[in-house]
Amino acid sequence: AQTVTQSQPEMSVQEAETVTLSCTYDTSESDYYLFWYKQPPSRQMILVIRQEAYKQQNATENRFSVNFQKAAKSFSLKISDSQLGDAAMYFCAYSIIFGNTDKLIFGTGTRLQVFP
């Protein structure tokens, strides 16, 4: 069974600094997707960044980038130039590429606090 593990329940960072959130996963599949979602207090899950497992190049979206280590099954999120609006719960998630459903499997989340 696929599992996603986030070992950091809480992280904090000062505004304008850089922070890295960790995620590991377990799967026997070779083709899959990995995601980072942000969940502010409003509860809506917002997609931050996506990585296809068959791509070696790490995904980047503005201030957000990932370090994808397929052999180690590691998928960390780096937030550069942190802003107050980045404070939220961050969830790492996994999805297989092919099948009857592309359901997401989530980790338990990391709460990020940003201090001015």
Binding site: Y32, R43, Q44, L47, I96, I97, D102, L104, T108, G109
Partner: protein, 116 residues
């Protein structure tokens, strides 16, 4: 609106009552997902629809949980004889694709269900 709409936003029910939670997906989206998010946890998959067909209900925790999407648009998640452990946020998500993970899921704001 352009996003996924869920109602009600909050629902309080007494143990043993039946509840119905509604999800309006983004117009034209084929895939619809329900997730359950317990306090302090990541969302967990409940069920998946492709149009009106329920292709995966492996995550429904018991036969008290029932979901439908009769016309391939609006979906309702029904919980019969509610119990305290049903208290959670129920998230709905939709996506335009038909079974691969390429398109991201768009989430609603969720319904927070509290069972007294």
């Amino acid at each position: 609106g352009a996003g996924v709409s869920q109602s009600p936003r909050y629902k309080v029910a007494k143990r043993g009552q039946d509840v119905a939670l509604r999800c309006d997906p983004i117009s034209g989206h084929v895939s619809l997902f329900w997730y359950q998010q317990a306090l302090g946890q990541g969302p967990e998959f409940l069920t998946y629809f492709q149009n009106e067909a329920q292709l995966d209900k492996s995550g429904l925790p018991s036969d008290r949980f029932f979901a439908e999407r009769p016309e391939g648009s609006v979906s309702t998640l029904k919980i019969q004889r509610t119990q305290q452990e049903d208290s959670a946020v129920y998230l709905c998500a939709s996506s335009p694709n038909t079974g691969n993970g390429f398109q991201p899921q768009h989430f609603g704001d969720g319904t927070r269900l509290s069972i007294l």
